[in-house]
């Protein structure tokens, strides 16, 4: 069967409604089991010893005292893990190199960040494990470190990897560099384009690293058997990818590791990579007992991947009527200890909302002494868009053109050629802009020190390898086994809804679960806003297979030709016209006779979903600035986004609201604070400030539906677009309120107050 099912407009009974989700009761009663809620008899507690230095050569590790402490059953260091070759694999929308995966999991030659794992132990209790860590002696040769991305790019900066020469530069440089890779995207002729411009605006922006902030720390439980098989329960966005990574670094066959994804307490891209999993399996292998490893919140901040801090330069030129003639950007992104920041994705998202003939984007991926960067919801895009949408806003203001009007003049539409390759198919950018403009929020009155800003976002969304299996039970109910982890809790419902819609039965008859790695073929991570699109596609394919078999069985039972049988409203019915008539059969009746008519009925799909539809969104925000303290309050917030089709509108609204509030936190208060020693100073929720309930208002949402022609229900991914626009929207609103353009994230009160005071001093 084709992996591309085209969109078909039809009357819908279940898709688009709001039934209750299947896992809801377990989650509101505390019954649902997350990573740290799993236990096995005889389990040991595993803990990690971490480097206190931002950059140091590891001369020696002495674990002798730890190994003999009563209660300690296993200790591992770099000596227990094999050297890995240079080999790339996809993880979400980003790539990893296994040579770096093993080093990030356990340092080899050097400790490259405060928090870098250096050794791990498994012991009979948490207190014994902590005591054991204190007994491990590590000899470090402390080296100078570098964290700021601009500093790291300078010649003479402390070097993380002596053998790293910038890729993408010809001829190959003769000095190693912290710039791991330089890339460039573009089309047309920006020099000529700028010559045609009546107005050119150029600005530089700086952002700090921020963390995904999932409330559940990483947790896993591993049990290794003497026959070489391992079981792993872990909180992950992708159990098949975790299996692959563990198998590789542990040099085990993929089929020998069975990974069960637990309920996950938030990921947002941060749980796309292994941290403790392979360590837990290795400790279990050595100790011959199950090993449970749960990170503390401090470890999550010190050692798991946040997103990049960055330096962004944007230059845009346009005519006096507001038509953009040229656009340029330089994006310098922190990759952390190993290469692989989302600078490529950021480069591709920077300008794609606009139909531009002349574009040039240069990106630099820069290693610095911080944890290896991981994906964070639309990786890289919020940072690039902070810059671009701020400059667009400035240009619109200088020309006296309404900000939405300016964007409409230049908007990408169906058929627009992007500057990184493909042409855009049917998209809803113009519709979202028009609906935003028509929304009452856009024209509501503002008071003193209040301002309004808008900004827009785009994300490609992805498809990728997806599998599922749909089994018809003997009583007519169905079990749907999914391979995509249900990270936000709405997936199981949405998939069950699509199956019920296809089969014409009640939603409650379909029971959706996420299967472990032994139940299905390879499934990519839940990332890239792909779940409803790709897993939905797979479920529809599997449903249609089941329908085919139901028709065949009905034809057999009723003794009519197959062409005479149609499937409608959950029944096999005469196809109409000249064909043979027969008494209809319900799904349950056919199911009851499945054994006698050939065996159990099932459908399945193994696809690499193509044709994901890009998503666009427009955010409107009102702020009030306290001029005496620099404090910014969010008064009102509206999100307008094209999602293609909202299978379950309540969960789509939830994605829009959740992403917007993460973006608000990113804009106002979140940042990693490092001391001069390169040690993280705020590894906790007290001083790493995510929004609390009293910080934000209700977030109004407008769902726009421009169907994606490549999905049977028109679905586009929706989860990532909502985090892209808030930073720029808020910066634009602040400019509207107090006439000052802020280019440093976070827009924290000391920065805002300084800008206000500097401006007043300049005047006076």
């Amino acid at each position: 069967m084709s992996t591309m099912l085209k969109y078909q407009e039809k009357e819908l009974k279940i898709v688009g409604t709001r039934p209750l989700r299947p896992d809801g009761v377990d989650k509101v009663t505390g019954r649902a089991r997350f990573g740290a809620d799993y236990n096995l008899p005889g389990q040991l507690i595993g803990k990690v010893l971490r480097s206190p230095h931002a950059h140091a050569r590891i001369k020696a590790i002495d674990t002798s005292a730890a190994r003999v402490l009563p209660g300690v059953k296993a200790v591992v260091t770099r000596d227990d893990f094999a050297e890995m070759p240079d080999e790339y694999a996809a993880v979400g929308e980003m790539m990893i190199n296994f040579r770096d995966v093993t080093r990030n999991m356990m340092a080899r030659e050097k400790a490259l960040y405060d928090g870098h794992p250096v050794a791990a132990v498994a012991a009979t209790s948490e207190s014994v494990a902590r005591e054991a860590l204190a007994l491990i002696k590590v000899e470090y040769e402390v080296l100078p470190h570098v964290i700021d991305v601009v500093e790291a790019m300078q010649p003479g900066a402390p070097l993380l990897h002596e053998d790293q020469y910038t890729l993408g530069v010809k001829p190959k440089p003769d000095h190693p560099s912290n710039v791991a890779k330089r890339l460039e995207f573009g089309r047309g002729d920006v020099v000529a384009g700028f010559k045609e411009a009546d107005l050119i605006v150029e600005r530089e922006f700086n952002t700090k690293p921020v963390h995904q902030g999932y409330i559940e720390p990483q947790a896993c439980l591993a049990s290794y058997s003497e026959d070489g098989q391992a079981e792993l329960w872990t909180s992950t966005q992708g159990h098949f990818v975790f299996r692959a990574q563990c198998a590789k670094v542990l040099q085990m066959d993929v089929s020998k590791i069975r990974v069960t994804p637990t309920e996950i307490g938030g990921g947002f891209g941060g749980k796309n990579n292994i941290y403790n999993e392979a360590l837990a399996i290795a400790l279990s292998r050595k100790s011959h007992r199950p090993v449970k490893m749960v990170m503390t919140r401090e470890e999550v901040f010190r050692a798991t991947g946040p997103t990049s801090g960055a330096n962004v330069k944007v230059r845009i030129g346009c005519t006096r009527d507001g038509k953009i003639t040229a656009a340029e950007a330089e994006l310098n992104f922190q990759a952390g200890a190993f290469p692989g920041s989302p600078v490529a994705q950021a480069s591709m998202c920077a300008f794609t909302r606009y139909d531009l003939a002349n574009v040039r984007v240069v990106g630099n991926d820069v290693t610095v002494n911080r944890p290896k960067v991981a994906a964070y919801r639309a990786p890289g895009a919020p940072i690039a868009v902070f810059g671009v949408e701020s400059v667009i806003d400035e240009m619109a203001k200088k020309l006296g053109i309404d900000p939405i009007e300016f964007r409409l003049k230049n908007a990408a539409r169906e058929g627009t050629q992007t500057y990184y390759g493909p042409k855009l198919g049917p998209i809803g950018y113009v519709q979202t802009l028009e609906q935003a403009r028509a929304h009452p929020h856009y024209s509501a009155p503002l008071g003193p020190n209040q301002g309004r800003g808008i900004a827009t976002g785009f994300w490609f969304n992805i498809g990728n390898e997806t599998t599922c299996s749909l089994n018809l039970q003997e009583d007519g109910s169905l079990t749907l086994v999914l391979g995509t982890v249900d990270v936000a809790g709405g997936s199981r419902a949405a998939m069950a809804m699509m199956v019920a819609e296809e089969l014409g039965i009640d939603y409650e008859s379909v029971s959706a679960i996420v299967g472990d790695t032994s139940t299905l073929g390879f499934n990519f991570l839940t990332a890239g806003s792909r779940s409803t699109f790709a897993s939905g596609m797979a479920c529809v394919i599997a449903s249609r297979q089941v329908i085919e078999k139901l028709r065949q069985r009905a034809a057999k039972i009723r003794e009519v030709p197959l062409e005479a049988v149609a499937w409608k409203d959950g029944h096999a019915r005469p196809a109409g016209g000249d064909v043979a008539q027969f008494a209809p059969m319900s799904l349950a009746e056919i199911a009851k006779m499945a054994g006698k008519t050939g065996g159990a009925i099932a459908g399945h799909a193994e696809i690499n979903a193509q044709g994901a539809g890009p998503g666009f969104g427009v955010h409107i925000v009102d702020v009030e600035v306290d001029r005496q303290t620099g404090s910014i309050s969010i008064l009102r917030y509206t999100v307008v986004q094209d999602v293609g089709k909202a299978i379950h509108p309540a969960y789509v609204e939830g994605q829009l609201q959740g992403g917007a509030v993460q973006g608000i936190g990113w804009a106002l208060n979140e940042e990693y604070v490092y001391g001069d020693d390169g040690v993280l100073q705020n590894p906790g929720f007290l001083d790493y400030r995510v929004p609390v309930a009293s910080d934000v208002p209700f977030i109004d949402t407008v769902i726009v539906e421009v169907p994606n022609p490549n999905h049977p229900y028109g679905v586009r991914g929706c989860g990532e677009v909502p985090i892209i626009a808030p930073m720029a929207a808020i910066a634009n609103a602040v400019e509207n309120a107090i006439g000052l353009r802020l280019c440093e994230q976070p827009l924290s009160p000391p920065r805002v107050l300084k800008a206000i005071d500097d401006a007043a001093a300049a005047k006076g």
Partner: protein
Amino acid sequence: MALNHVSATVNGDRVEFLCETGHTLLEALRDELRLTGTKEGCGTGDCGACSVIVDGRLLCSCLMLAVEAEGKSIQTIEGMATGESLHPLQRKFIEHAALQCGICTPGILIAARSLLERNQNPTESEVRYWLAGNLCRCTGYHKIVEAVLDAAREMRGG
């Protein structure tokens, strides 16, 4: 090391457990009593995922020692439903899609119930400020606040 013996009441049931002096109530609930509905999000009282009620008082179980539970009456998420009936807050959370990943949900339900027991008709602002000690990263709080206000309405008989 000598362990401490603690007797307490949890969700109406008499319980006994052993613990180290340094163990928190959260650790005792999860590891000794296997009541894993209460979660650890931070261990420092900044996220509220470990919220429980002790002798009628809403608090973070990560900031109370297990030994202090001696003789006390503790309520956790596992005791919020009565038999087969979910508490109105639990029902409203599901109806309003006020949870996504669900990790913060037990803590928020316990905190919200504590609010509604003191204030049957809270304003939106009062709900937000009362729940400021419970972090949620998925929902943006919107549907949570709606669900709490709707549950309050139902509980008032409206």
